[in-house]
């Protein structure tokens, strides 16, 4: 019964070179019906899509874009494991997407897949470009040579996809004729039998991959290494030989099946590159584009974020008013709903940023930026590709860290993930604004407004620590991987809106479903700590509040409620914690009330403002920044009678917020992107130590 059910859905793996339009085809076939999963033991996501043709159901597995099946990164390891059904279910067939303009190069991967012996078909994409360049491909002749059906498409313009659907529904996949002539017949036969493979090339691949496969058990690994040694099989030499011979054979095959044209991109692209990659104008254009994107994010994200904020606040209020009062209602209204609101609030920024990034990527501009920035990033242990996460970090570290995916070098990617939270994100802005308002005079110096200057300095501190941190990590983290840059600069194309929208949707979905769980859990813990205290105390305060509220006139009720909110926070577990850490934060110039704000704002930096408002009993009206400022200005230390928010304390706090992690959502995303708790925990500890020292030094200098 189960077997027949499984067979009802045909699973197809889709594979191809980068920039070949594989994702276009994937998106056109599956639409919104996509799912993100995991490959066991791997950090790369598994993308799957589902669709129906007639009454047949299909599952499409989107394998990472790669130029070959040689073990170089996780991408190739995953492709090899999936196509051979190692440690996961083997797909029924493979669709290999080829570039019509670069048949020679794309057939390297194509014939490798062919030799694995899996039923397959070729999709020759970008036929429009090939036609423009005067290339013509004799598909039937090529089919005769390779033994595998071919379909010509122009996926960007939705052409030829019907033929792909027909091919799928008729199940026209075929096992091709073995292409590459392997040596080592005896060795490969032994490996083939041991692993139960069908073709000798599968055995060859297993030998080549032996040293890279993290899932291979020690016994088999050792066995493969011993066998390779005794037969004199050197995998490096074999790969070179394979590449050379494949290309030779591909070339001779193509000479019979393809008539060549100019093969050169249009003049227009070269002219565009002269400007966009220019040593001066290239950078000016890039800066301009980035400014525009930021302008748009700040302008467009604000309204939906306010809306989300409002809706969740209203929902929380409605729940607490409608449901019978009690612990569960409180948990639902203040813990869970507020927690979910705290996750959803990030969607506008994530969606917008990834929308713009997808736009830049899809037009082909992105790799030009990598070309321009690589030299500037390298001294800091970063890659040209690190620039996008870092710049995104100025809006929000979360999409920035999610955008580190395409940095293939593990060390460079990790450094980028670890330092991105130091870029000054938009959540720090409310904290800076209130503290600058409190401690920096609104005066001009040499025509420059001092408050604006202070804000600029905070952004520069963030950027400086990002680069310094990366520089330090370059020496701390060890890596055998050699850093290199080998990026294709694809020709410029018009962006496809479908791709852009799908990216926005998928990235938001990943964030909500994956990081959202962690964020929700932490926010509930923080809520419990802030709402409950050791037995009795909280109830005593509540009883007192109730009694007093009955005896005062209406006008005083508001102030009284604020005062009790402050007393309740003080009596809560988090209040107790805040007091407990006071000795540790006193050298930074903070009292226990600021200590509480430090703890609660681990949820998100902007929570600092709300907590400070509560603890100094400013009241609900936290939007009114002036009220908070006045109130804070009056605070004095209980023991010494000195002002709490002096310039030294203000500056020290700003430095602390610039450098400390203080964002559980970032922690959750780092966990999700590194797939381990090691890095987010080390990162949080490290950033807190640096923040503490930075704040300490700042306080000592200014006091």
């Amino acid at each position: 019964m189960e077997v027949s059910e499984k067979k009802a859905v045909k699973s197809i793996a889709i594979i191809g070179n980068p920039n070949v339009g594989k994702s276009s085809i994937f998106n056109q076939l599956t639409g919104l019906n996509q799912k993100i999963g995991n490959y066991p033991g791997m950090t790369v996501d598994k993308m799957m899509g589902y669709f129906q043709i007639g009454n047949k159901s299909f599952e499409l597995i989107d394998l990472p874009g790669t130029y070959s099946l040689y073990p170089k990164s996780e991408d190739e390891i995953i492709a090899q494991k999936v196509l051979n059904g190692l440690g996961m279910e083997k797909p029924d067939a493979a669709l290999v997407v080829l570039d019509a303009c670069n048949l020679e190069r794309s057939l390297l991967l194509g014939t490798q897949v062919l030799d694995l012996g899996i039923p397959m078909a070729f999709v020759v994409n970008m036929k429009d470009l090939a036609e423009k360049r005067g290339l013509s491909i004799q598909t039937f002749a090529l089919y005769k040579e390779l033994g595998v059906p071919l379909v010509l498409t122009d996926a960007r313009n939705n052409q030829g996809l019907e033929a792909v659907r027909d091919l799928l529904s008729n199940d026209d996949f075929a096992v091709g004729k073995p292409f590459y002539e392997l040596g080592f017949a005896a060795l490969l036969e032994e490996v083939r039998l041991k692993f139960g493979f069908e073709t000798p090339y599968q055995a060859f691949q297993q030998l080549v991959f032996a040293g890279y496969d993290p899932m291979l058990d020690q016994e088999r690994k050792q066995w493969l290494e011993d066998k390779a040694r005794s037969h004199g099989f050197d995998s490096q030499i074999q790969q070179t030989r394979e590449t050379n011979q494949r290309f030779e054979k591909i070339k001779s095959t193509l000479s019979r099946t393809q008539s060549s044209g100019s093969g050169k991109p249009k003049k227009f692209h070269a002219t565009l590159d002269k400007v966009l990659m220019h040593p001066v104008w290239g950078y000016v254009t890039f800066l301009g584009i980035m400014l525009l994107i930021f302008q748009a994010i700040f302008a467009w994200a604000e309204a939906p974020m306010d809306l989300i904020d409002g809706v969740f606040a209203a929902l929380s209020g409605w729940v607490s008013d409608t449901l019978p009062p009690g612990v569960l209602t409180d948990l639902l209204s203040e813990g869970i709903i507020t927690g979910i609101g705290g996750v959803v609030i990030f969607i506008p920024q994530i969606a917008l940023l990834f929308g713009f990034l997808a736009l830049l990527e899809d037009t082909g501009y992105f790799s030009r930026v990598v070309f321009l920035m690589d030299r500037l990033m390298r001294p800091f242990g970063l890659h040209g590709k690190s620039i996008v996460p870092l710049i995104s970090g100025m809006a929000c570290a979360i999409p920035g860290i999610m955008a580190t995916r395409n940095i293939s070098n593990t060390k460079e990617r990790l450094i980028t993930i670890l330092v991105t939270p130091w870029m000054s994100c938009s959540a720090r802005l409310p904290v800076y604004i209130i503290l600058i308002g409190l401690t920096v005079p609104d005066e001009a110096w040499l025509g420059i407004n001092l408050q604006a200057l202070a804000l600029l300095v905070m952004y520069l501190i963030g950027a400086a620590f990002t680069l310094l941190g990366a520089f330090a990590l370059k020496f701390v983290l060890k890596s055998q991987e050699k850093s290199f840059l080998m990026t294709e600069l694809p020709i410029y194309r018009m962006p496809r809106w479908q791709t852009v929208l799908l990216t926005m949707f998928n990235k938001s979905k990943i964030f909500v479903l994956e990081a959202g769980k962690v964020i929700l859990a932490i926010s509930i813990v923080l809520w419990v700590l802030a709402s409950y205290g050791p037995s009795g105390e909280m109830e005593a305060i509540e009883a007192e509040e109730k009694a007093m509220l009955e005896n005062v006139v209406e006008e005083q009720k508001f102030e009284l409620t604020n005062e009790f909110a402050s007393r309740k926070l003080e009596a809560s577990y988090i209040g107790i914690l805040g007091k407990a850490i006071e000795p540790a934060i006193r050298p930074l110039g903070y009292d226990w009330k600021i200590g509480i704000a430090l703890l609660t704002s681990f949820a998100a930096r902007e929570v600092f403002v709300a907590t400070v408002a509560t603890i100094y009993s400013v009241g609900e009206n936290v939007e009114d920044e002036l009220t908070i400022r006045e109130k804070l200005n009056k605070q004095v230390h209980a023991d010494t009678g000195e002002k709490v928010f002096t310039r030294a304390t203000g500056f020290s706090l700003m430095v602390f917020y610039a450098l400390a992690m203080q964002c559980m959502s970032t922690v959750a995303v780092v966990y999700r992107e590194t797939k381990s708790w090691k890095w987010p925990v080390l990162q949080t500890i490290g950033m807190t130590i640096v923040a503490y020292l930075g704040a300490l030094i700042t306080y000592q200098i200014w006091s």
Partner: protein
């Protein structure tokens, strides 16, 4: 001569690739003996170089470009 010494917008031919762990990676991206190559752009301060290799543009750092041997001259 290696690809680092190319004059801008002049067409050369690739003679070979020096042995290195990156050799296979270069070959699979189409950097092969016999292919035509020309230099399009250089990023400032000895940054990456952009080459046109048989109709495809490839960005390489100087270290990588230095692995590409050029025929003649």
């Amino acid at each position: 001569m290696t690809a680092t010494g190319l004059k801008i917008n002049q067409t050369y031919e690739i003679e070979g690739i020096s042995a290195s762990p990156l050799m296979v990676r270069m070959m699979e991206m189409g950097v092969m003996p016999g292919k035509s190559i020309s230099l399009l752009q250089k990023a400032p301060f000895k940054g990456p170089m952009a080459f046109l290799i048989e109709g495809n543009i490839l960005a390489l750092r100087i270290e990588e470009a230095d692995l590409i041997q050029i025929k003649g001259s």
